[in-house]
């Protein structure tokens, strides 16, 4: 689905991402884990074309369709190509209602019927949002905002969902709900690239993972195996190695 080769990103004099390569297969959830400042968010922003200075080859390969070179698209065309980013810090429009936020997610979907169908479907599954449909998004709790941000991304009918720290700052019960939503999106066929600081959670829900350390991928493989890997356990899972 997504094929990234030699992605580089420089801010001023600092190389945040130093030529990384990875891929996400169709219908797969892949995690990108690493410490603060390792370049995880930068990588996602580069993929979403929010940082036009990034270089490298980023190809979207939807099954049965022509490949799309994402690096040639302006940021606002990405969602039309089937890539939706749920940004770090949620990025809901606080001064618009929950319903308006959801509709904005489908801004590029011209088929009204399809939009309404998705809307009803999501609200059915997310009663918290349904109750608050006419409230301003700024009045929601952090967890509800995160749920809204993900639901809004799903409104665009993405093939590939990029999630930036969906568990950040949320209570455990809310994290559980959010991940239920994420997992059900994957089950419905959406490919997912998940950036998480909560490595244990990320490795549990993903099938494969890459470990990012100061702009390099230092480790990659099967998530279940990485969970048992001594280096990962020591550095990211807080386990003492005896």
């Amino acid at each position: 689905m997504l094929d990234v080769r030699n992605l580089r990103l420089q801010y001023g004099g600092i190389q945040a991402v130093k030529g990384i390569s990875f891929d996400v297969q169709c219908g797969e959830m892949v995690a990108l884990i690493g410490a603060n400042g390792a370049g995880k968010t930068s990588t996602l922003k580069a993929l979403a074309r929010m940082l036009p200075q990034a270089t490298g080859r980023v190809q979207l390969n939807p099954p049965g369709e022509a490949a799309v070179d994402l690096m040639r698209l302006p940021a606002h065309e990405l969602v039309a190509a089937g890539v939706a980013l749920v940004p770090e810090g949620r990025g809901v429009f606080a001064r618009q209602t929950v319903l308006e936020n959801l509709k904005l997610g489908a801004f590029r979907v011209k088929d009204r019927m399809l939009v309404n169908e998705r809307l009803e479907n999501l609200l059915e599954r997310l009663p918290r949002l349904k109750e608050r449909a006419t409230q301003l998004a700024g009045t929601l709790s952090g967890g509800e905002q995160q749920m809204l941000a993900i639901a809004r991304a799903l409104m665009s009918g993405p093939r590939l969902l990029l999630l930036d720290e969906p568990s950040m700052g949320l209570a455990p019960i809310m994290v559980e709900r959010i991940f239920e939503l994420i997992i059900s999106a994957r089950e419905s066929g959406v490919s997912i690239l998940l950036v998480e600081q909560n490595a244990r959670l990320a490795l549990k829900v993903s099938s494969r993972a890459y470990v990012l350390e100061s702009g390099h991928i230092t480790l990659s493989g099967n998530s279940a195996e990485l969970l048992q890997d001594d280096r990962v356990r020591a550095a990211y899972l807080g386990d003492a190695i005896s």
């Binding site: 929010m50 606002h76 990405l78 990025g91 429009f93 509709k103 801004f107 665009s156």
Partner: protein, 307 residues
């Protein structure tokens, strides 16, 4: 004649015009955080283009109302194209520059347009032909002319359509989203640059209409008119809470009323020391007062959030 009621009517006419111009300031500020000081000049160009079109058409013997209609249909696209060019060449290259830079660019554009207008239309005052027959209605001891009625009605209708467009259409929603967070708006697939251009263009269409209204009501158009009008409309936008659409409408009407009533009573209040030609001081007293006591304006709480 009831002076109070008469000044209320005059104030509503003036206020409608301020409101239309203030909307242009406030929409651009809302979306870019930029005070487009060249906006007053767009009104001036609108007024002078309208004037020229009418003068060309007067010999044709068309009814004056039709002249006004044609002139605004010419002036509006001219202003829209001008606003497009200003945004594209004077502001967009400076999008990521420090805030002071586009402000200086705005003042530069303003001076450029004034001089350009002076070269085309000369330094004189241009009198508009009468657009509507000089009919007036009496209400409670005051008079309202047909032109005044039409001005207020047209401004109200235009503002109503604008408010509906911003609150109810998907374009309006895209504008609100862009104003709130352009980076996230882009993620939604909103072409942010096009929305910004459209915001300037919509503001310019309102400016063209305001230009015609100024010319028709006060029968003056000249190359320097945009300066004072622009400052007053900016004051109106600040009074209402800059960045807030409803605030700009309210601020415009209020400022028109304050100025009009002030001009009507200043002579009595100061025992004849100051006459009605001092009416300009009211707008700026309001501006200073708002900036000192309520910098967010009447409807705005967003200014502090942005600063």
């Amino acid at each position: 004649m009831d002076i109070f009621l008469q000044q209320i009517i005059n104030g509503l006419v003036l206020g409608s015009i301020y409101a239309l111009v203030a909307l242009g300031y406030t929409m651009v500020y809302g979306i870019l955080g930029l005070i487009n000081f060249a906006h007053g000049e767009v009104v001036m160009i609108g007024a002078l283009v309208s004037y020229s079109v009418m003068m060309v058409l007067v010999p044709s013997g068309l009814p004056p109302v039709l002249l006004a209609l044609i002139s605004v249909l010419v002036a509006a696209p001219v202003c829209m194209a001008l606003a497009w060019a200003i945004e594209r060449y004077a502001y967009r290259p400076l999008r990521h520059a420090p805030k002071l830079t586009p402000l200086i660019s705005a003042i530069g554009v303003s001076i450029l347009l004034q001089n350009l207008a002076m070269m085309i239309w000369g330094r004189g005052y241009h009198a508009f032909p009468d657009i509507l027959p000089a009919i007036h209605f009496d209400i409670g001891g005051a008079q309202i002319t047909l032109l005044q009625t039409v001005t207020i009605g047209l401004a109200a209708a235009t503002m109503g359509i604008l408010a509906w467009m911003i609150q109810r259409t998907s374009l309006g929603q895209a504008m609100r989203a862009t104003a709130e967070n352009p980076a996230i708006a882009e993620l939604m697939g909103i072409p942010v640059n096009r929305i910004i251009t459209l915001t300037f263009i919509i503001g310019a269409a309102l400016a063209a209409l305001a230009g015609l209204m100024v010319g028709a009501n006060y029968s003056v158009a000249h190359y320097y008119m945009g300066f004072m009008l622009g400052l007053k409309a900016f004051t109106a936008a600040v009074l209402g809470g800059i960045g807030n659409i409803t605030g700009a409408m309210l601020g415009g009407l209020l400022l028109g009323l304050i100025e009009s009533l002030g001009a009507g009573y200043i002579e009595d209040l100061t025992g004849g020391i100051l006459g009605s030609h001092y009416q300009d001081i009211f707008a700026f007293l309001v501006l200073i007062g708002v900036l000192v006591f309520r910098p967010g304006g009447l409807m705005g709480e967003r200014v502090s959030e942005r600063a």
